[in-house]
């Protein structure tokens, strides 16, 4: 029997049609928006409906959403009977310190475990990428350069290099931008800073022709996490993080999407901690400084 596990708060009413279909997710579109119907292992999200007990190979061809109901292939689920997905990480006290302490281990973990097609190594260990295809090399070089631009405060240029980067339907570069945006918003929340200008600039520059990416970027621009990344953000904020468990969830999110967004998130933490150090040295904290 099919059961709806969770529904995202940004799933809007409307008639949705299938945009694309993968083994664990069916993506629906309607105008500029997207709704993702996914299996439980993929996890929830602000735009996701998580369904258990269904075979996606020949299921999920129609989706109707109203204020009260979600109707998938004619089966109606009452919205008030479906738990609302939680977009924001729940962080323990001392999360700031723990992020600082755990960041090296997080980066190391991502470099070691993320698929080689992903951007984690390009971000954090660019000299250790054994690549053979020219296209692949070019992608990794761009990703690596983008990370350097972000580190230098060039958010617009970094975003432009990363946008749409990668061969697949959901480019690795877009996933990384989502992670970066989530990370920037989270760290800003922790410190009571305002990153809205930087965040808005990244969102503006990152928007392209890919509907899925655009939808994800819009959510990330508001600091809304999809579940695998939210779990990683919560894990990394713990005193004794279990990255292996968080990594298992990331690995189930797309081919490399989970790890790519995590790489962006880790980069945001790195930028934040770097700014923190710089700002402390300069005697004050004024939020992220963006350059053009």
């Amino acid at each position: 029997m099919t059961k709806a596990i969770s529904c995202g708060g940004l799933v809007k009413p409307g008639s949705w049609r299938v945009h694309s279909r993968f083994g664990k997710a069916v993506n629906f579109t309607g105008g500029e928006g997207m709704v993702f119907v996914v299996k439980p292992e993929v996890g929830g999200g602000p735009l996701s409906i998580v369904l258990d007990g269904t075979d996606f190979a020949d299921f999920c061809v129609s989706l109707e959403v109203t204020d009260r109901q979600i109707i998938i292939d004619g089966t109606a689920f009452r919205r008030d009977g479906i738990p609302l997905y939680r977009d924001f990480p729940s962080l323990p006290s001392g999360a700031e310190k723990n992020y600082a302490a755990n960041l090296p281990a997080l980066k190391a973990f991502l470099c070691a475990r993320s698929p080689k097609e992903g951007v984690a190594r390009a971000f954090f260990a660019p000299d250790e990428m054994p690549l053979t295809c020219n296209f692949e090399r070019a992608v990794q070089r761009r990703a690596s350069s983008a990370a350097e631009l972000f580190r230098g405060g060039y958010f617009r240029k970094g975003t432009l290099l990363l946008r749409g980067l990668g061969p697949g339907l959901t480019p690795a570069g877009d996933d990384a931008i989502c992670g970066l945006l989530c990370g920037l918003n989270l760290t800003a929340r922790l410190c009571g800073r305002d990153v809205s200008a930087v965040s808005a600039e990244i969102v503006r520059e990152a928007m392209g022709e890919n509907l899925i990416s655009n939808a994800l970027i819009r959510c990330a621009g508001e600091g809304r996490f999809f579940e695998p990344l939210r779990l990683l953000a919560e894990t990394a904020s713990a005193q004794k993080p279990d990255f292996a468990a968080a990594g298992r969830r990331l690995s189930l999110c797309g081919a490399s999407s989970g790890f790519d967004s995590a790489a962006g998130f880790a980069l945001a933490l790195e930028l934040w901690l770097g700014q923190e150090n710089l700002a402390l040295a300069a005697g004050g904290i004024n939020g992220f400084e963006g350059r053009n």
């Binding site: 097609e117 054994p130 053979t132 061969p167 189930l252």
Partner: protein
């Protein structure tokens, strides 16, 4: 060169599927480069800079899939393109995991393969040590392909392994053949009764390939990493490998390959060899004193000689069988030298060795120095022979293009020939160059289309300087995916002189250069 592409409207795949497909496509016959990507503006931009953008791709947008193939001719391009669509549609192979997922981490992998007793670790160096220790603690032998592991970590790992009766191959171990399975940069060879331990990766490839090409075979080929035989590590893995082969009933002949170990390590190897009641053959490149002779080890100066002797012993011959073969080769080298030295211009007298294998660069210096005198190198045996600038040859020069100075941020030259190709053309343009000396290594891990990648550079070099000689050897076997005979024939067709071993190629190069330096300009 032909560029051919196709658009599949509305088709889509994930990044990993597409990149894996492109990698597989690159190994198709005649394919020089390829890409299979969603036709986003960004990807079109990358295709353009990679020289892979076709005008018809203007019609494709981000919701379309495009495949493009650069191949040596139209037929191969068309065949590869057709193959591209088949590859992306292939269902992924069944995963080992009972949950249908790729195992994440060692625990997951162990769960999937509880009987495994060997792990190959190829992660960034800074993470490899702890992973290797974890694996050892679970009773796994370790092949550490990773480099950039500290000496302290290496020692700790090897001591711990030794205490548990396990073996650590590496760090920086690029080659091994275990139970017939080529691991990392290795060749498909006959199985047989010659067991090998090597602290030199390409050296191990050369001897395993020669043995196999001679009709003998390999029981086990154990790599140790080059640092193992230094004083600090003390040859822990080398000695463990030697002991394992001594006990292995499948191994009848033992072959040791290394640069000269530290004296203290050499003493330990000699002591261990004395207790082994099997023929032990060794090549310790650069050890002119043959320090293992006193331990009853048959020690030789070149990889070729040691491998041929091991093969002869394995096949029931005595060493004279190998001697006779080598004598025939030397006669052939002298004959070829007369032909190749003819027609050289005045002042054209230098050998320029451009190697992808570090062991080959060392062997080249050792073989050629007695005939040519001083040889400059970026990896010299004597500090005084160090090239001032590795990018500029001086006199007789031997360059190891696999050194870090050339490989940071780019694939190893056994995979990516582009850097060496440029250097081939540059050396040909130098009027003092008489011989360009090359190694071509095939097999797993190496460039899957060596001919397509290197022959244009050889042809260009010979066009620039028709009097230059390009001499090379091909390390590998006919069982390798690239097929040694095919590669040799292609190199010959491009104008290269192909010799049966690196040592033979080096001898011929030195003979030609020596002849060109004589007033008559001819070999005698």
């Amino acid at each position: 060169m032909v560029l051919k592409g196709e658009i599949k409207k509305g088709e889509y795949y994930d990044s990993v599927t597409l990149m894996n497909a492109a990698r597989r496509l690159n190994s198709e016959k005649g394919v020089l480069d390829s890409a299979i990507v969603m036709a986003t503006q960004e990807n079109k931009g990358i295709l353009k800079t990679s020289g892979l953008l076709l005008p018809e791709f203007d019609k494709a947008d981000g919701s379309d899939l495009v495949a493009v193939v650069k191949a040596d001719n139209a037929d191969n391009a068309a065949a590869a393109l057709a193959r591209a669509w088949a590859i992306v549609k292939e269902k992924p192979a069944a995963k080992a995991s009972s949950q249908g997922q790729r195992p994440n981490g060692l625990s997951g992998a162990m769960k999937d393969m509880p009987d495994a007793n060997l792990i190959i670790i190829s992660v960034a160096g800074r993470f490899a040590g702890s992973l290797a220790m974890d694996a050892l603690s679970r009773g796994l032998n370790v092949m550490l392909f990773s480099d950039n592991i500290s000496l302290e970590t290496e020692i700790e790992l090897k001591r711990y392994a030794s205490s548990k009766g396990l073996l650590v191959m590496g760090p920086d171990c690029g080659t091994a053949i275990i139970n017939g399975a080529p691991l990392a940069f290795a060749n498909s060879v006959n199985r047989g009764d010659i067991g090998m331990v090597a602290a030199a990766g390409t050296g191990l490839q050369e001897v395993t390939a020669i043995v196999s090409n001679e009709g003998a075979g390999v029981s086990q080929a154990i790599g140790t990493g080059g640092r193992d035989v230094k004083k600090d590590v003390g040859g822990i893995s080398f000695l463990a490998g030697l002991q394992a082969l001594a006990k292995d009933p499948q191994t009848k002949v033992i072959l040791l390959v290394s640069k000269p170990p530290h004296e203290s390590v050499l003493r330990k190897i000699a002591a261990a060899a004395r207790k082994i009641h099997k023929p032990v053959v060794a090549v310790l490149l650069g050890d002119e004193e043959h320090l293992l002779d006193s331990a009853g080890v048959m020690q030789f100066d070149t990889l070729e000689e040691a491998a041929l002797v091991a093969a002869a012993l394995s096949r029931g011959h005595d060493t004279s069988h190998a001697d006779a073969l080598l004598a025939r080769r030397r006669l052939e080298e002298e004959r070829l030298a007369i032909r190749l030295s003819a027609g050289k211009k005045p002042g054209q007298k230098h050998v320029r060795g451009l190697f992808s294998g570090g062991t080959f660069a060392s062997e080249a210096q050792l073989v050629m120095k007695p005939m040519l005198g001083r040889i400059k190198s970026n990896v010299p045996f004597a500090a005084g022979d160090k090239l001032a600038n590795s990018l500029v040859s001086e006199g007789h020069s031997v360059i190891d293009l696999g050194e870090d100075e050339f490989t940071v941020g780019r694939p190893h030259p056994m995979i990516d020939f582009s850097l060496r190709n440029k250097r081939i053309e540059a050396e040909a343009a130098d009027p003092s160059t008489a011989v360009i000396l090359l190694d071509v290594v095939i097999g797993y891990g190496a460039n899957q289309q060596p001919l397509a990648d290197i022959t244009p550079a050889i042809k260009a070099a010979l066009k620039t300087n028709p009097a230059v000689s390009v001499i090379c050897s091909v390390t590998g076997t006919d069982l390798d995916p690239q097929n040694r005979q095919t590669v040799m024939a292609g190199l010959k067709a491009a104008g290269a002189t192909v010799m049966p071993s690196n040592a033979s190629a080096c001898r011929l190069a030195a003979l030609v250069a020596a002849a060109c330096s004589k007033p008559s300009g001819r070999a005698r």
